[in-house]
């Protein structure tokens, strides 16, 4: 592996590009640790975001205006303000109420969850409302209650339609977790910045970090494609 990297370095040097693999090799263990944290934070964010998002979507579809109101404004707030500002607010103002000292990774997970919940809620709502009314009516006439209709009839069909936009959201969320670097959450980009800080060189750390993000999102893309094909009805 190291030999291979040095080989690339020499070929790059041949065409006049100065690229120090030494930095990549030195920071590789840190990039791997950071990658695991990135994956963990994103997974937690996606899971919590989906659960919250489902409830917010249902709340926003409530027939009562008063009941709808908080959900509408939740979505307005989290879609309408920059994620970085949300991260600062949560890390420096909200989380200190719950834990001390604040773990920056926890702050990132909370921020990603709350933020993605707003987007996921709209995806869920679109999915649920795309299912023909007749389906629900037929299920009701078979004696199912509202919960059963939602769980057994609407959601399974809606979920299939929601996979492409959800996949989009997951990929965005994975990359957005890099904002954690700013509050010193030791994720992937944090170690890229640390390497830049040590060597004052930008290409080696950032290109490596970008490549790792790319591999992660690419894997996610193909996983979602596979899921879509598996669930497709003929």
């Amino acid at each position: 592996m190291i030999d291979f990297l040095m080989f690339i370095q020499e070929r790059l040097a041949d065409i006049g590009i100065d690229f120090r693999m030494k930095i990549v090799i030195e920071y590789f263990p840190f990039f791997m640790q950071g990658m695991l944290k990135t994956i963990g934070m994103s997974l937690a964010g996606v899971l919590i975001g989906c659960i919250l998002g489902l409830f917010i979507a249902l709340g926003k579809m409530s027939p009562l205006f008063i009941l709808r109101l908080p959900f509408v404004w939740y979505i307005n707030f989290f879609r309408g303000t920059p994620l970085l500002v949300q991260l600062f607010l949560i890390h420096f103002a909200v989380m200190p109420l719950i834990m001390s000292p604040v773990n920056p990774i926890a702050s990132v997970i909370v921020t990603l969850s709350l933020n993605s919940a707003a987007y996921v809620a709209e995806i869920f709502r679109a999915g649920i409302q795309s299912i023909d009314k007749g389906q629900a009516e037929a299920a009701h006439s078979l004696g199912m209650n509202k919960l059963q209709v939602m769980w057994y009839i609407i959601l399974p069909q809606a979920f299939k339609r929601m996979i492409p936009p959800l996949g989009n959201e997951f990929i965005v969320l994975l990359k957005d977790s890099s904002l954690g670097a700013i509050i010193a959450a030791p994720e992937l980009l944090y170690w890229g910045r640390a390497a830049t800080g040590q060597y004052y060189r930008v290409w080696e750390p950032y290109l490596t970090v970008a490549l790792i993000y790319f591999i992660l999102t690419l894997s996610l893309t193909y996983l979602l494609n596979y899921l879509e094909r598996r669930l497709a009805t003929k």
């Binding site: 100065d18 509050i183 010193a184 830049t196 004052y200």
Partner: protein
């Protein structure tokens, strides 16, 4: 349903046409801008070539976000480094243009040689010397540990086992890492010193290690913060700021000796007193040069 293929095909056609339209228009603008930038570069090149015979205009990069060394004041870059740079350039007989590039772009611009030098409170260290050349040191940074009242830190060795906040890529980060070990898990490297201080206020970190002048600036702006400070010149290794050049730059010696002259002839001391209100430790600088 029978209409769908027609609709689909027409939409596709519209899409292709739109794309083609965009394509040609961007092509045109691209070639336009290319053309003009080339001609600009051409004239620039001639201008610098002509100037070479008289006086070359040096391009200087900085990241004006590190008060009091360089920062923006009503749209202008000011600070200790800026005044020092003016004095050095006058001594060396160069015209120069100072540009606020931001930190990472400044590093890459100096590395690739698209600016001639960088001055931005840059710390000299061996890892960086592999990529850059440095002038003689022009500032000895004294590290200060800032901690919340009652944590009880008396010297740098007390940092061991404490959660430490630093700004990534600064002397403070280097100094703290030399005490507790590189990339130790207790060190949190924040994007800016302001964020590190905020983490200190919230108790996320127990101590912040930074330059004493930066710490003084923080205390001045946050008089209510219940913090104590301690400096420790015995346990912290000295860190020095230098002007940074591309590797094997031809002007290193010239600028460096001009800087040495400015330090010796008293101009440096004047600028230092103006910004920091105290006498510089010139012996430390000369010792570090040797």
């Amino acid at each position: 349903m029978r209409k769908l293929p027609f609709l689909y095909v027409s939409l596709l056609l519209i899409g292709i046409l739109a794309l083609a339209g965009c394509g040609t228009s961007t092509d045109e603008t691209e070639s336009d801008t290319n053309g003009s930038s080339e001609t600009e570069q051409g004239t620039d090149g001639q201008a610098t070539e002509q100037a070479d015979e008289e006086k070359k205009v040096l391009q200087v990069g900085t990241d004006a976000a590190f008060a009091p060394f360089e920062f923006m004041e009503t749209g202008e870059i000011v600070g200790f480094d800026v005044d020092l740079l003016a004095a050095v350039m006058e001594e060396a007989g160069y015209d120069y243009e100072l540009k606020n590039l931001g930190w990472d772009p400044m590093l890459e611009s100096v590395r690739s040689g698209s600016v001639d030098l960088g001055i931005s409170g840059i710390t000299i260290n061996d890892d960086r010397k592999e990529t850059y050349d440095f002038s003689v040191p022009y500032f000895q940074s004294t590290h200060m540990i800032v901690f919340n009242e009652g944590v009880g830190i008396t010297n740098a060795n007390d940092l061991e086992g404490k959660r430490i906040g630093v700004q990534t890529g600064t002397t403070g980060a280097d100094a703290a890492e030399k005490i507790v070990g590189q990339n130790n898990k207790n060190i949190s490297k924040y994007e800016t010193t302001a964020l590190a201080f905020m983490a200190l206020q919230n108790g996320d970190v127990e101590a912040v290690v930074t330059d004493n002048v930066v710490a003084a600036e923080y205390k001045k702006n946050n008089p209510d913060a219940k913090v104590e400070t301690v400096t420790d010149e015995d346990n912290f290794e000295s860190e020095f700021y230098g002007i940074m050049f591309p590797k094997d730059s031809e002007i290193v010696d010239e600028i460096s000796s001009a800087l040495a002259t400015v330090i010796e002839n008293g101009t440096y001391t004047e600028i230092y007193q103006e910004w920091f209100g105290e006498e510089p430790n010139l012996d430390a600088l000369t010792n570090a040069t040797e």
